[in-house]
């Protein structure tokens, strides 16, 4: 089967702590993959490794068969590997829609849009509408610093979508959102996979996650301990043990 993105036995150690330890992973086109695991199990580090913000000590990252292990983050974005951040850190001094203009200045967006001053803002406004900002609402023009948390998360998503992602890695997109907010984004995510884009979701909110993903990978202490369809994986003993003391939601 065709694979867009492959991680081969990647490891990363931080000051003696093995954050990610020999994890292999593959993502197919149009697939939504969930990565779950307790806090500190290496989920975010794995995203950092895949998107190039951290270099692995060992292992390789392949994108459509090409070794991109040593490519810069911006180089990977140009190929279509786009990520969001767990804690949204917008460009605080810029109005919300200008936040989305920034990725539209990148080479990847340039290849798609061409130049044009007004066009970028137009596209940015469309994207904001797509992630649930009301058209022409005050929130669109406010400095990002004044937006509530849920809006910042959606702004972050819009920033990613502006880059026309082939593989979109979302780091705890739903955290800090109300259930209503979170479920309002689910159709959008499902539509993205329908367009042939691959999603990788790192998530604690399993209820929402299982509505989107086809497959989950479970990490614990930096190792992959299980992989497979959500219902099957959550039934496993070692997964339950890793989540001990945590309420495990039944897969939908």
């Amino acid at each position: 089967m065709e694979r867009v993105l492959v991680a081969e036995e990647v490891s990363k150690t931080f000051g003696g702590v093995r954050a990610v330890d020999g994890v292999s992973l593959e993502v197919r086109p149009g697939e939504a993959l969930g990565i779950i695991g307790p806090n500190g199990s290496g989920k975010t580090t794995l995203i950092n490794l895949i998107t190039g913000f951290v270099r692995p000590d060992r292992g390789r990252i392949l994108y459509r068969g090409r070794d991109i292990t040593r490519l810069s983050p911006e180089g990977r974005v140009r190929l279509g590997i786009v990520r969001s951040f767990q804690t949204p850190r917008p460009f605080y001094h810029l109005p919300a829609f200008k936040n989305v203009v920034i990725p539209l200045c990148s080479t990847r967006a340039w290849e798609r849009l061409g130049s044009g001053y007004g066009r970028r803002e137009e596209v940015a406004l469309d994207l904001l509408e797509e992630v649930g900002f009301e058209r022409d609402a005050a929130a669109v023009y406010k400095p990002a610093a004044e937006l509530p948390h849920g809006y910042l998360k959606r702004l972050e998503l819009a920033r990613c979508l502006a880059l026309d992602p082939e593989v979109l890695l979302l780091d705890e997109l739903f955290s800090g959102m109300s259930p209503a907010e979170a479920s309002s984004l689910i159709p959008l995510l499902i539509r993205l996979t329908g367009e042939g884009r691959s999603l990788v979701l790192v998530e604690h909110r399993l209820v929402e996650l299982f509505q989107v993903v086809h497959r989950v990978v479970v990490l614990d202490f930096g190792r992959k301990i299980a992989e497979g369809p959500p219902a099957e994986v959550m039934a496993r003993e070692e997964v339950r043990r890793a989540y001990l003391g945590r309420e495990v939601a039944a897969p939908a």
């Binding site: 931080f14 000051g15 954050a19 975010t44 580090t45 950092n48 913000f53 951290v54 951040f85 767990q86």
Partner: protein
Amino acid sequence: MFEALSILLYGLVQSAVLLLIALGFSVTFGISGIPNFAHGGIYILSGFACWYLLRKAHWPYPLAVAATVALAAAIGTLLYWLVIRPVRRLVLAEVLATFAVGVAFLELFRWMGLVTYEFHLPPVLSGSVTIGGVTMDRHRLVIVGAAAGLGMLLWWFGRATRTGLALRAMAQEEYTALAMGVHEDRMAAIGVALGSALAAVAAVLVLPLGIISINLGYDAILVALALTVTGGTERTAGLLLAALLLGMGTVLASMVLGPHWSEVIYLLAIVVVLAVRPSGILGRFKELEERV
């Protein structure tokens, strides 16, 4: 053999000197995250204050030294509340404001004409000893001892005491520290005051090696920056190692290339370390920061 021993001993002394000068800056930066560019200014100010108390007011030596250290701590506290506090959290404004205060001190002294040979401080101990054929005055031994002692003291202070713990918590994670009930402003003020007091200690110990000159204040900042960058900010051991490396390096450089080259070593250290290993030789912070 004699050459080697002499380089080793004087390198050690130089390392101790560098450590003493940098300790205050590093402590302030480590505790409150404030890059106190006024450090060099306070260092020289302490030198002149001590000189005044000894030569003009004719205070006994221990009293003059104690008063100098107390004065520096007071200036540090004032500096925090009057200048740094209003621009807190704006990192660059903190740099600009402390930089301006430091330059103001130094240039004020220059304008007052405090640049002649009469300005020198007495050594703590006079006389000299001979170690393996190398003559060394006792004062330099005092410097080495003091540097080692202060280094140890700070290490212990950071590990063991409650204030130390609070300070460390603050340096590493301000929000957590706040949640733990660490009073942020008071701690930051203590950080600056402690750093300034250490600058005064350094002045009393190091300045007797020569005359008090204004440019030493700029050098002090350079030294502090070089050591802090080279050693990383979070561990006393890193600072120690950086002091040894740079101390030996400058002594070697001034023997081989000439005395003017020691500053080049500091600067090279800054640039090379920042380029190759920005977290410092023993540091881990920058890499952790990359985890986002």
